[in-house]
């Protein structure tokens, strides 16, 4: 299956060439955590994860065509 991955801010450094968006193939039954592991994103880094604009978690099982977005929340305000 093909997943679109969007990693914002610091997390984009884990995608090829530091791009914010990439499409990647993943095995059927892969979870959010599996895809993030594939790119080397430490599991303690992403704080907010969305799949198809809905809040999600690392254990969520992805489907073909899903859009996975994640960013890290930083202190300061």
């Amino acid at each position: 299956m093909v997943i679109t991955v969007k990693l914002f801010g610091n997390l984009r450094n884990y995608l090829p060439e530091g791009k914010m968006v990439c499409r990647t193939e993943a095995a059927d039954g892969s979870t959010v955590g599996d895809v993030l592991d594939h790119f080397g994103v430490p599991r303690d880094k992403p704080r907010i994860i969305l799949v198809n604009s809905y809040r999600s978690q690392v254990v969520h099982v992805l489907e073909d065509g899903d859009v996975l977005a994640a960013f890290q929340v930083l202190p300061g305000g």
């Binding site: 914002f8 890290q72 202190p75 300061g76 305000g77």
Partner: protein, 269 residues
């Protein structure tokens, strides 16, 4: 023969050769400060077509109708109507939230829903919209006091409490837009995740990465989803040596405020 001039932001027609004194007599006899095209006048000045006149009575607070007219004149009736019908929530009234709230009040937002559990302390003054004579006050009280001095006609709803998953829906459930303005990362995460789960009709404008003095243009708007936006550079966290400073926090706060306005006007997707 007549000319067209502006008097207190309203377009009026007056006779040619009229003086500033005569304009005062016709439109605001009690005015004791006459401003003609940005300069204080003595009343004897002749008025020309297109002149802009502001007639003021020192100490007088504009009534709701007059202030509304001024806002309508500035923003156009269509924009003002949408702004006045809108509700904006602000979670956290620190460096971001206090400035967002003031910007909303200045432009005439219909209702502000404000929440914070904290008090004003001296270390807040480097970037938060509080004053030395407000030290020790509850932030909801201090900010409300300031907002009423800015625009006494904005509906202000305050919640002096610590926001948590169990009360966020009750506090912000009626809001069109919710601005996340916390300082701590765990609180930011809590607010964002709870709002995503429990406020399906509310758009969320969070902030992440605004410390220090990096160039202003590095404060961006990141559209995470159709109803979750994050303002900041998503990289510069507040930590020892890279503190929060008024200019960059102000850029972020007003970027949040402008984005809120654009969402309310239907101009941002």
């Amino acid at each position: 023969m007549t000319i067209q001039i502006l008097v207190n932001e309203r377009e009026v027609e007056v006779s040619t050769g009229i003086t500033l004194d005569a304009v005062r007599a016709a439109f605001k006899p009690g005015a004791d400060l006459l401003v003609l095209n940005g300069h204080v006048g003595d009343g004897g000045e002749s008025i020309a077509d297109g002149d802009e006149i502001v007639l003021l009575q020192r100490g007088e607070v504009p009534d709701a109708h007059e202030l509304e007219n001024l806002l309508v004149a500035r923003h156009t009736p269509g924009i003002h109507g949408k702004v006045k019908a809108s509700r904006v929530g602000v979670a956290g009234l620190g460096g971001l939230g206090s400035q967002v709230a003031i910007a909303m009040a200045r432009m005439g937002i219909g209702r502000l829903v404000l929440a914070d559990f904290d008090v004003v302390v001296p270390s807040n003054l480097n970037r938060q919209q509080y004053f030395v004579d407000q030290i020790g006050m509850r932030k909801v009280d201090a900010l409300s006091e300031t907002l009423r001095r800015v625009n006494p006609y904005v509906a202000i709803e305050t919640h002096d409490l610590k926001l948590a998953p169990g009360n966020i829906h009750e506090v912000f459930g009626s809001c069109d837009v919710l601005v996340e303005a916390f300082d701590r990362a765990d609180q930011k995460e809590m607010l964002i995740t709870t709002a995503l789960d429990r406020l399906p009709d509310t758009r969320i404008i969070a902030a992440s990465g605004l410390a220090g003095h990096e160039p202003s243009e590095t404060i961006g708007i990141h559209r995470i989803s159709p109803r979750l936006f994050v303002v900041g550079d998503l990289q510069t966290e507040a930590r020892p040596g890279t503190g929060l400073m008024a200019p960059r926090v102000g850029v972020a706060a007003h970027t949040q405020a402008n984005l809120a306005l654009r969402l309310l006007l239907g101009e941002e997707e």
